[in-house]
Structure formats: C-alpha cells, structure tokens
C-alpha cells in the first residue's frame, strides 16, 4: 500500500482537525469551538453525562477508565466540587498532550468547561507540567481570551453558570501524573500518592468531590456533544470507541503524532505513518504504549490491533499510546537501563520496595553496560523486581519492573553478550 493511500484510509482528524488554524480564539471559533459548550448549557447536567457515557469515552491518560462513569460518581449534594485537568504529561515517548495544548488550547478549555457544567463545578484547575513552558503560555493566553469572550467567568452565555480556571505548573515530578499525587501537589505538598479509598470522586482536591481527566480525554468531549455518541462509536471498536493519538518515535523515518481510529495495527502506525525503521534497518522492538506499557513487543507483534483489549491480550498495555521503535542495532540492555533509571529517579520515595528496588536494578544494569555484569546478576535483578511488583502504593512500582523483566525474557542473549564482551557490544 502506498503511504498516501494509507493516510487517506486511516487518518481521522477529530481532535487534531484544527491544528494550524486554532492559535487564536477567532481561528478556533471559525472551526466551531464553543458550539458544543453552548449546546451542553442547554441540556441538563445528567443529559450531558449520559451522552458521554453512551459514547463509551475512556480516559486517555493510560488506565482507560470510562469518563462518563467517573463524572457520574460525583455526588450532587456536596459543594464545592472541582474539575482538574491532568496535563502533567511525562511518560517517556509521549508527546500528544503537549501538542494538543499548544495547537488547540480552546478545545481543551471547552472540553473541561462541559465537564465542569456536567458535574456542577464552578472551579477548575489545569495542572500543566512545569517543563512545558510554551504550552503553559499558550494556555494562559487562551484562558484570557475565553474570559474576554464570555466563555469563562460569570453567567456564561446567559446561562447563569459561573466557571473559573486556574493554571498551575508542576515542578518536575513524573509521579504527579498519578491523580492523587497530582492533587497533593495542587494542595502545595510533596507529590506522593494517597491511599484509596476514599477516591477523588468523594474526597479529592481539598477533600471535596473531584474529577481528574487527561488532556486528550477532555479534547474528545466537545466532539461527542456536537456529533453524538453513535458518531463517536463509528470509530474504533465496541470497547475502545473513538480515535486515539499515537506518538511514534525512536528509530523511524517519520516520527510524529498520528490520530487514527482505535484498533489500527501497530504495523500501519510504524511502517505506514512512521515510514518504517530508519536507514533500512530491521525492527527489533517497540513499546505499544510508553515506558509504563512494557513488556516490550518484538516484530511478531506488529499486527496487534492498537486498542485496550487487543494490546492486553497480546501481553502488554496500551498505556498512553507512546510507541518507541528500536532498530536491530539498538541495545536492549541500554533501553532497560534508560527506563529503569527513569523510574528510579521518579520514584517518590514513599514505598521502600519501589524506592530501593529501582535503585538496585539501575545499579546492576549500569554494571552490565560498564562491562562488569555477571550471570548471577540476572537472577538478582529478577528477584528484586519480584519484590517490587504488587508491593507499592501506586502503579509506578509495578511498571518499573517490566523493562528489566521483559528484556531479560526476550533478549537474554544481549545480557550474555554484555558479560562475554565485557561491555556493550552495540554502542547505541
């Protein structure tokens, strides 16, 4: 299939449709921004929630929890309640939320505003990753525009509904992408996950009912309100409806964000959109959904459909849709080291198995790369990994073990080569 034909068949621009024309509010309005919010304000709160439920929208932050159900958990008799956007994108290999904020900020603000109306919240927060200096500036400007035009503030569009937004920057902590850690951070504390229950739906920000959703999730909402649940469900599969932005990077010809219907194959994304492996090399491995989506997949998994159920059935996780591609000459021990070092650095320190275990695995992997790895180190690493998994407060600990367990399982020969070669035989 030619690249052009593939693009025509698969590229489905819904949440990326206004890229290039939505830098200002006038551009966004010309593309239909805030029409869905206006429509939602004419419905009851329950009607809005029912539409989102019926569309089957699932959270795009990694876990895939049904958004409408989450909104429905918010008790109606407790005030105030809060709506929070998790814009703390930090998963290695993910770069979709940053682009959504930079290139169509009003789509995010509108999706949040509809959500706030649905749950009866008058106060929303965007927690944007600290390093995203440009995205935060774009959002600040867009929020200012939305206030000026009356889409935020008092008595919005004559509906009697009031809504304010605060943009808060994180300060360099991946764990704040975990929703309860994010709420701790918003309250001015160390970003360490809370014990659940109680869940944020009843005891979230300032111990009040709170909805936390990812940027891409909110971006879908206006389109669902405008076009209806059946239209949304015409993309993807029954259990994974809609479109998804996949972030393709690493050793590919055309790295980039590609919005496609759920269930597009990994092959179409990597070989079609991504243009295949760079420099005519063969594919060695790819992550289906980011560092937290390991085990890695090998070339035998290229025909897996990229939706929650299919990726899980194939033994991994869809995560955030971050697909990092490794060519045949990439070192998987180094890849495991990069990921493990990431988790060791980002472990919040609360749970001992995660804090100490990631440190030990990282140190051992460094020995392999430095040429001092031993056969027994493989067993030690797997043993340490086994003592982290299931023994930490949040999912970070579980995810942290998969890079080492999956590379030892799939590319044990590379570890052995590091021992024999007294160092890395790859160099990249």
């Amino acid at each position: 299939m030619t690249d052009v034909l593939l693009k025509t068949l698969l590229e489905t621009k819904v949440i990326t449709a206004r890229y290039g024309s939505a830098d200002t509010i006038d551009g966004a309005l010309a593309g239909g921004a805030y029409l869905a919010f206006r429509k939602a304000l004419g419905m009851t709160q329950d009607e809005v929630i029912e539409i989102v439920k019926a569309a089957g929208l699932r959270g795009r932050g990694g876990a895939g929890f049904p958004t409408g159900t989450k909104w429905g958990f918010i008790p109606k008799d407790v005030r105030p309640s809060y709506l929070v956007c998790n814009a703390d994108e930090g998963e290695p290999g993910t770069f979709k939320d940053r682009e959504l904020m930079e290139r169509d900020p009003h789509q995010l603000i509108e999706g949040m505003a509809i959500g706030a109306y649905a749950i009866g919240s008058n106060e929303m927060y965007i927690y944007v990753r600290g390093e995203f200096a440009y995205a935060a500036r774009v959002l600040e400007r867009a929020v200012g525009e939305a206030y000026e035009r009356g889409y935020l503030g008092r008595n919005i569009l004559g509906s009697g509904f009031d809504l304010d937004v605060i943009i808060q920057r994180g300060a360099g902590a991946y764990i704040c992408g975990e929703e309860t850690a994010l709420l701790e951070s918003l309250e001015g504390r160390r970003g360490q996950p809370r014990l659940r229950p109680p869940f944020p739906a009843t005891h979230g920000l300032y111990a009040k009912p709170t909805v936390v959703n990812n940027v891409e999730t909110f971006a879908c909402v206006p389109h669902i309100i405008t076009n209806g649940p059946d239209w949304f469900k015409s993309f993807g599969t029954e259990k994974s409806p809609g479109t998804k932005i996949f972030c393709v990077s690493g050793d590919v010809v055309r790295p980039g964000n590609y919005e496609v219907p759920f269930s597009t194959t990994a092959r179409d994304l990597i070989e079609g959109f991504g243009g295949g492996v760079k420099d005519g090399k063969k594919l060695k491995a790819f992550t289906p959904g980011g560092a937290s989506s390991t085990p890695f997949f090998g070339p035998d998994k290229l025909d897996v459909n990229m939706d929650w159920e299919s990726v899980m059935a194939a033994g991994s996780l869809l995560g955030t849709g971050a697909m990092i591609v490794f060519a045949e000459d990439a070192c998987m021990v180094r890849a495991a080291l990069r990921y493990t070092a990431f988790y060791a650095h980002e472990s919040c320190g609360k749970c001992t198995p995660c804090r100490e275990g990631t440190y030990w695995i990282e140190s051992t992997l460094r020995r392999f790369e430095a040429g001092a790895g031993r056969e027994e180190d493989l067993k030690i690493m797997l043993d340490v990994a086994g003592n982290i998994g299931g023994r930490s407060f949040c999912a970070l600990g579980d995810f942290a073990t998969a890079p080492v367990t999956s590379t030892v399982q799939l590319w044990r020969d590379e570890y052995t080569a590091h021992i024999k070669n007294k160092g890395c035989p790859f160099g990249r």
Binding site: P80, G90, E91, P92, G93, T94, F95, D97, R98, E102, E123, R129, G130, E131, F132, A133, Y134, R137, E140, V143, G144, Y147, I166, I167, Q168, R169, G170, A171, G172, A173, Y174, L186, E187, G188, R189, R190, G191, Y206, C247, V248, S249, G250, D251, P255, G256, N257, A291, A322, I324, F326, A327, A330, R334, R338, Y339, F342, H345, E346, C348, R428
Partner: protein, 197 residues
C-alpha cells in the same frame, strides 16, 4: 547556605511580597498553601535558586514551618538548591533521544563547558543538567534552554548555541519559534503571575 560569592542572599523584595499576596488570593479561603509551588518559582527568580532564607520567608507567609517548605522544595527537581547559571541547559537522555544521539550532545557540552551535568560554569552563565523525557520525542534529540526546546539538533549545533550564550549573545529561536528568556524571567513567569486570573 550561601550563594556563589559566599554571601547570604538578600531578603525577598517588596515586589515578591506584593506578587505573593496576589497569587495566594487566587485559591479558596484557607487553601493558600496551594500557592507554595508558585511562590517557590517566584523566590527562585529572585535568587537563582531557592535559598533557605527564602524558604523561611515563604513559610512565614503561608503559616508553615520551614521544614514543611523544605520538604516540598526538595521533592521537585525544578527547584534548585544551588545558584543556577543564567541559562539552564537540560539534555534529555530518555530512549528516543538516546537513540538519536543524546549522549554525544551531553558529552560535547560537558567537555566544552568544563563541567559535568549538575554543574555551573565558572562565569555563572551556563548550568547543565540531564533530564527525563521532555515529551517532544518526534523532535529527538531534544535539549532545552530555560525550558525552550531545541529539537532535532546535533552536538555541533547545540555546542554553538551554548557558546553564543557564554559569550553574551542571543540564542536562536527554538522549535516553537521562541527565544529563551533568562532563568530569572522564566521562573517569574512560572509562578503564574501573568495568568489571567
């Protein structure tokens, strides 16, 4: 702790305190502690790092102990415990950037500047650091200067940008078409002071 000249930093300015009151007023009554992260950025913009003296003043403003403020400050990597250079150069070494040659960039900048990541040049102009994924992997390798990204850049190009900064010149526009602001300005902005509300 003292700054690089061995002297204690000046108390936070009247402007800091006026701005701090404005930021604290954004949050619901009784929830002023939410202003802690923004205030740490604001303090960092005055001293080039978050000094113990500044933490004491912030603790006083928010009704916290200095230890509570320090616990938060030390948790987040963007709050610095030592004075930073005017230009903070952050090199991503996560997988996509590593595959695209991030280590060559890191080694080249360390050699040129005569420091390791975590350090600041003698002239106080450039700090280098190795960072986690900056989430711009389609532009790998990615290096940021005061959080303004340079993407698809090689060691030679990045070395030239750092050389320009060290000789007092203006950096070229980054991947988003912006010229990096200095460390003080970018931290002031990150306090959210200029937000519409």
């Amino acid at each position: 702790m003292s700054d690089r000249n061995g002297s204690k930093p000046a108390p936070l300015t009247a402007d800091f305190h006026a701005s701090a009151r404005k930021i604290m007023g954004r949050y619901p009554p009784g929830r002023e502690r939410s202003a802690l992260l923004p205030l740490l950025y604001l303090a960092q913009s005055e001293h080039g790092y978050v000094s113990p003296e500044a933490m004491g003043e912030i603790a006083g403003l928010l009704g916290l102990t200095k230890a509570e403020v320090a616990a938060v400050q030390t948790f987040y990597t963007m709050y610095k415990r030592h004075p930073q250079g005017k230009w903070l150069v952050s090199i991503c070494t996560q997988p996509s950037c590593t595959l695209a040659g991030a280590n060559e960039i890191k080694e080249r900048l360390e050699r040129d500047c005569g420091i390791s990541c975590g350090g600041t040049t003698e002239d106080g102009l450039v700090s280098l650091e190795e960072v986690e994924c900056l989430c711009a992997c389609d532009g790998a390798p990615v290096v940021s200067v005061n959080y303004e990204n340079y993407e698809k850049i090689d060691a030679e190009q990045m070395a030239s940008i750092v050389q320009t900064l060290r000789s007092g010149g203006v950096a070229p526009r980054g991947a988003r078409g912006e010229v990096p602001e200095d460390f003080a300005s970018v931290n002031r902005r990150m306090s959210g002071l200029e937000a519409p509300r």
